[in-house]
């Protein structure tokens, strides 16, 4: 929404303060509701691109009309309804100049649907008791995570449509150039349209199979909110809240799938530390230095109960094991009380379930905490030789931290310098710079 309200409001005497406060209100609604509005419009219009345009136009119309006419009782329903009519205008304009059969067919379908205009279609069946049908975003996530799309495309499309992330942000999060990411999104949307990938929640016999991809996407969304890839905002509350909400819906939807509870527990336990992770000045506070009084006890209680429930069903999956690791931290009253041997053992289990160099890195740190930093450094050196984590700043950062614990200031400084060359997040960069300065001062 680049246009300012002053340029959008035409005619009629309008109080400038009122316009400004309405603009703030609309921006808030945009932030909170645009993904859901987009999801409903995709269902109603049958096209991702058309729905994106219609959503933008609906918000532009709100900026123009609400300051003068007042905000509607149900802003979301108004925006969906307006978006639908804007889509018809868009299609009419296009089909007037060229005879495009596909768009003409779409126009006819939308106009027929509009003539019937069931309220329920606009609100996405919110009144239905079945949680599966209640939320268009769930439908959208299953389409975005269709196995006929590349996994990278599934994640990107979900972040773009459900979380409203910019293409550049997604590209940064997944370490690919922005044009590559843009191309990936276009290709995925084209395949959804041309291969006719349906926009629906899969039937029961396919749900479990489709769930794995969806859970991965939800967790990646959470991580994007928890450790934003770039910029000054380390914690994007809405992204985490969005992922938790989607996780909650999935666990309601599939009560027999323990992993949905494991995933939800994992996200809640991480999110519980949100207020303790950063200082008032926006600086990172490590787990061992956090004020545990700031941890959200309500989220911890829910997370611990969910973890236990998830672990009771054998064999536990990777999210449940990661939740169990987060639960060990959540239970420790002080950093010193942390049961690192237990955490190292859980990382062993996780590594068997899901071999990955990042898990090996975490396991090495847990072993260092349980059995001594020098053993951890040996494991990190082995990991470095394998080369799989080349370009990943947390590998040298971990080595710097362990060297620091051993008061080997020179190698700590070297490792922090290497990490600084790789980091992209500003808050993390400042943290590493502080650690580097500390190590350099001790060297002299």
């Amino acid at each position: 929404m680049a246009s300012s309200p002053a340029t959008l409001v035409r005619g009629g005497p309008v109080n400038i303060d009122q316009v400004a406060s309405e603009k703030v209100a609309i921006e808030k609604i945009y932030h909170e509701e645009s993904a859901r509005i987009l999801a409903t419009l995709i269902r109603l219009l049958g096209s991702f691109d058309l729905a994106e345009e219609a959503t933008q136009e609906a918000f532009a119309a709100a900026l123009e009309q609400w300051p003068r006419q007042g905000r509607p009782v149900n802003p979301r329903a108004w925006l969906v309804s307006t978006g639908r009519h804007k889509a018809v205008d868009l299609l009419r304009r296009r089909t007037r100049f060229e005879n495009k059969r596909e768009e003409l067919q779409r126009l006819v379908a939308i106009e027929q649907q509009l003539a019937l205009d069931p309220e329920d279609a606009i609100l996405g069946g919110e009144t239905l008791s079945d949680p599966m049908q209640r939320d268009d975003r769930l439908r959208l996530i299953f389409t975005c995570c269709h196995p006929a799309l590349m996994i990278e495309a599934q994640v990107a499309l979900t972040l773009r449509t459900l979380c409203g992330l910019a293409t550049e942000e997604i590209a940064k999060a997944f370490l690919v150039p922005a044009p590559t990411m843009a191309q990936r999104l276009v290709r995925a949307k084209t395949k959804i349209k041309d291969a006719c990938i349906p926009y629906r929640i899969p039937p029961n016999d396919e749900l479990t199979e489709r769930l794995t991809a969806v859970m991965l996407v939800v967790y990646l969304v959470f991580n994007e909110g928890y450790n934003a890839a770039s910029g000054d905002v380390l914690i994007r509350r809405e992204l985490c809240a969005e992922a938790i909400r989607l996780g909650r819906l999935l666990s309601e939807l599939l009560p027999r799938e323990a992993e949905t509870r494991g995933l939800l527990a994992l996200m809640l336990l991480h999110d519980s530390r949100r207020d303790a992770r950063m200082s008032a000045e926006g600086e990172i506070i490590l787990l061992e230095e956090q004020n545990r009084g700031l941890w959200n006890q309500e989220q911890i209680r829910e997370g611990l109960a969910l973890t236990e429930a998830a672990l009771r069903s054998a064999p536990p999956g990777p999210y449940s094991v990661q939740a169990a690791i987060a639960a060990v931290h959540a239970r420790a009253k002080t950093a010193e009380e942390t049961d690192w041997a237990q955490i190292a053992a859980l990382y062993d289990v996780l590594l068997r379930l899901q071999p990955s160099p990042v898990i090996e890195l975490n396991r090495a740190v847990a072993i260092a905490m349980a059995r001594g930093a020098s053993e951890g450094i040996r494991l990190l050196n082995d990991l470095e030789l394998k080369g799989e984590l080349r370009g990943y700043h947390l590998l040298p950062a971990a080595r710097g931290d362990l060297s620091r614990r051993l008061q080997q200031w020179e190698s700590a400084a070297g490792a922090y310098r290497q990490a600084l060359g790789l980091v992209s997040n500003d808050a993390e960069r400042r943290f590493l710079a502080r650690r580097l300065a500390e190590a350099e001062s001790k060297m002299q």
Binding site: H146, A148, D194, A195, C196, I197, P198, P202, E206
Partner: protein, 119 residues
Amino acid sequence: MQYLLLIYGKESDWTKLSAAEMAKMDQEYGAFTQSIAKSGHLRGGNQLDTISKATTVRMRDGKRLVTDGPFAETKEQLGGYYLVEAKDLDEAIGIAVRIPSVRSGSVEVRPIVPHEMPS
């Protein structure tokens, strides 16, 4: 929406089948074809003869190049196809997984690009 279901498998596996196994396979294909004809999905389909009988042609600089064998030597060969009508990709996938050869080979599901055909 129409989809072409391309059936790929190891030709060497098919030619190794015993007469009884072959008869069973024929019977399974017959039952499958009949069921998708009855449900209104079937638009066409054929079994292809082996690649040893394939010929590939190209035109280069106005000259015909005719060679023995398939377009590309691959581990799995195209052995047959169905053309089906389905409401979306999920329905087409649902039909593809019922093709008998899907258990040993694989089926590629390709949407057909609609074009006006001269009648």
